[in-house]
Amino acid sequence: MSQVIVGQLLNGVIVGTLYGIIALGVTLTFAITGIVNFALGAFMMLGAYGTWYLAAEHGLPYPLAVLVATLGTAVLGLVADRALFRYTRNDLINGLLVSIGLIAVLDNVVLMIFTATPQALDPPLTGSIGFLGVFLPKMKVVVCLLLILTVAGTWLALQRTWMGRAAFSYAQSAEGAKLMGVRTELLQSGVFVYSTALAGLGGGFYASLYSIDPTIGNLYVLKAVEAAILAGIGSIPGALAGGIILGAMESIGALYFPLSFRDAYGLVLLVLILLLRPSGLFAAQR
């Protein structure tokens, strides 16, 4: 029995890192552009389809397919930012409306091109690894580690560089940063596009683990927003931790309670955490 629990827990952690990578995008986008970009789920789906299309249909090696799909997603992110989201800066409602509209457009374009038939990649990496008495697919472990590395890299880059300094400053006082010569419009676009790239990367990894269809991103972005709120908006390590906590909670909940309500267990946790720590687990409490 304990092996089942450990297995479920580890699976939850792995899924949680996928929530976490999108949550990182959610939290960065909110801190710098002042909107919640629900379309990050759609960008994740684009990354997944891009990877699948390049790897399965055109025979590109999987790592290269992920890389190209991630870059492609970032380019689409840039287009979305220039064409739409630059007009919704710090406007929560308009940002919400535009991102929901964009989800409808992107989901349906993919639906039109690739149909609703679920697609799947041949696993790029087969076999499994024994850990704590349970066996995990190698691919899942690799994906989990790469996502953790990506979040850690982002965090380090923001800690150590002048760009990161500018971003932290901007999140605290937009005008203060502007008056110190920060190119705020560039910073906002950069963070927006980077967040879409993170989502694309998450999607590329997702495609190697599960079958994909045009709606996969919608549930994931909700989970990511949950994870970001649970952790406290603005916290980078918190976004990952929030995703992992959420994923683990869902897996454990699904073990003891009806599986059909899996998505609700995370929400119960979210409510409990916000009752105890209203600004989130990792945020500075006011």
Binding site: W162, F168, S173, G176, A177, M180
Partner: protein, 233 residues
């Protein structure tokens, strides 16, 4: 050094500034005094490009800066210490000061400038590892000025530096501004506290309802009957 001519500023249908003329020469300390909502902050924000002027010339060091975005004006040497300070509250004092050097090409080598700021405001040195938001208003004002100095301004613009501060702190700021002025820094000081502004400056402009109503040497304005009645109490 800085020439503003016939500056008009509108917010929608509301005209905030009417044909404002303003000159600041190299090495001069100029005060902009006037009551609340006279347009002092709007004037400074327009000079930094945060407000877009409806009409008028803006020339800094013989360059027309009208079309320049804020970050390029900062790079040109115009640095504003804004009203309300706008320090980065969750960052340490040191990080705030470093952020002042952000626009500089040599920002990695700003240690000597840091020392100069700490010399001017020793209190910032004591608090360098403290979060800016946890300091008193006076200390935050010193930090905001220090951060502005880290940007190596050619012309430093100060917006209401004494607002809400205790007299002891105001005296400390006056001393600091005198030291900066003696070192040759050009300063444009917007203040409701006319006594402070006239004492610290060589020349002053009185701004009323968006018009420059009076201008002259600060010592003369300080004796002017109207100024005395309206602003010096």
């Amino acid at each position: 050094m800085l020439q503003i001519r016939q500056l008009d500023l509108r917010f929608g249908k509301n005209q905030v500034l009417h044909q404002v003329d303003l000159d600041v020469a190299q090495g001069e300390v100029v005060a902009l005094i006037g009551p609340n909502a006279a347009g002092k902050t709007s004037t400074l924000r327009t000079i930094l490009g945060l407000n877009r002027a409806a009409a008028g010339e803006q020339i800094f060091e013989d360059v027309d800066i009208r079309a320049l975005p804020t970050h390029e004006r900062v790079r040109a040497g115009l640095v504003l210490v804004p009203e309300g300070r706008q320090v980065f509250g969750q960052s340490t004092v040191l990080d705030n000061l470093m952020m002042g050097a952000y626009h500089r090409a040599d920002r990695a080598r700003c240690a000597p400038d840091l020392e100069r700021v700490f010399e001017l405001f020793p209190r910032l040195w004591e608090r360098r590892r403290q979060k800016a938001g946890s300091m008193s208003g006076g200390e935050q004002q010193m930090l905001a000025i220090g951060r502005g100095l880290m940007a190596l301004p050619k012309c430093l613009l100060l917006d209401e530096p004494t607002l809400g501060l205790a007299p002891v702190i105001v005296a400390e700021l006056r001393k600091a501004l005198q030291i900066l002025a003696a070192s040759g820094l050009t300063i444009l000081l917007a203040e409701q506290n006319a006594a402070f502004a006239l004492e610290t400056s060589q020349r002053a402009y009185v701004l009323e309802l968006g018009h420059i109503s009076l201008t002259g040497p600060s010592s003369v304005l300080a004796r002017d009957a109207r100024v005395r009645e309206l602003y010096l109490g």
